[in-house]
Symmetry: C2
Subunit: 204 residues, 2 copies
Amino acid sequence: MPRAGLTPQVVVDLALAVVDEGGTSGWANLGLSAVAQRAGVAVPSLYKHVDGLPALRSAVAARCVDDLAAVMTAAVTGPAADPTLDPVAAAGKGPNATLTGAAAVRALAIAIRAYALAHPGRYRAVQGAETAALGPASSGPVDLVARAVRELGLPPDRWVDQVRTVRAAVHGFVELELGGGFGLPEDVEASFRYLVETVVTGLR
Amino acid sequence: MPRAGLTPQVVVDLALAVVDEGGTSGWANLGLSAVAQRAGVAVPSLYKHVDGLPALRSAVAARCVDDLAAVMTAAVTGPAADPTLDPVAAAGKGPNATLTGAAAVRALAIAIRAYALAHPGRYRAVQGAETAALGPASSGPVDLVARAVRELGLPPDRWVDQVRTVRAAVHGFVELELGGGFGLPEDVEASFRYLVETVVTGLR
DNA sequence: CTAGAAAGCTAATGCCATTAGCCACCGGTG
DNA sequence: CACCGGTGGCTAATGGCATTAGCTTTCTAG
């Protein structure tokens, strides 16, 4: 029997593939048996590389958080940061243009939704991630939004409210869209642009 | 062995109790074994009243949708409709006052969040519910929001966008709050009021 | 070349949903 | 009052899942 050459890294990669294949429910359905099957290995063998299902799910979620953060970063700093990342997120702006203020908020909102539509399972994984006690100046998705909102030049005593509002609006829209919550045939793209403008222009 | 006196009704009631006890994860953890235990019955006995776990979950979700719709209706039409319903939802307005326009949108938003905080498991169940092909003039949560938004007197060609925006903002906020997504100590109540005002005044 | 760690395996356990088939209760009818 | 059938409960068995224990095989370092 040849060895499969697994490592913790590879196992998480395979799990990500399972999540991606599962579509919207890929995250919910992520289990050891699917990963083992994809690895061509018996289920207990995975325990040589991973500390059980909860630990694997945490690792996958953490990777997805980094993944989303990278896409969001690329959306505001220009694709130059890493051209292999999702090009959709960076669409509509020149290379190396670092966006600020309202433009950055719009770009981040669009990037988040694009990521969620391209990788629904991963987006759900991001939501299931532990709020991993990051420092106040981390580069996670929340901080990227916070930085962009701060650049809007609005009253600082409302920054927290503003960040929460932007996060809630974008997340809620994406969640409803992924869950099939928009039954009517009307253009969902247009509705999203409308939501973003409503929030960006409504903040004060 | 005395009989337990179960009916489909009673089984769903017990399942709701399981969901409520489970807090935020009550919906995710709803299973037949927990229901059977609570009923004082062996698991297979439940199959005499319910067509398997998916069917039970559907029935529970449907009840939660009606439940939420009732609370929302009470929030805009006054508690007179059914005084036994969650009094929090109707707080801040006189009896029998039917709200319209911006006041109705605010009241609905507050009612939805209050319901979600009081019954996190049930709120999650509502989101997991099938979009049960209702008629266009049904009295579900979505239609209640749609009616209130229409009364704002804004351009009708944007009604769909407006309804989606309101739903997304409120749902996203509640989802983040339930998921522990708001790490900072700042007042969440104030942030929610801020969000509602941002949306209500930002729509056009 | 060899020894030991690392990576795979099978077997066994326990929890869950589901199906099949058995028995006891309870309400109506003779 | 007896009895009889349907219905609601039960136990047993199956299959999927994660997990643990213990064995074997395969690389690789010395």
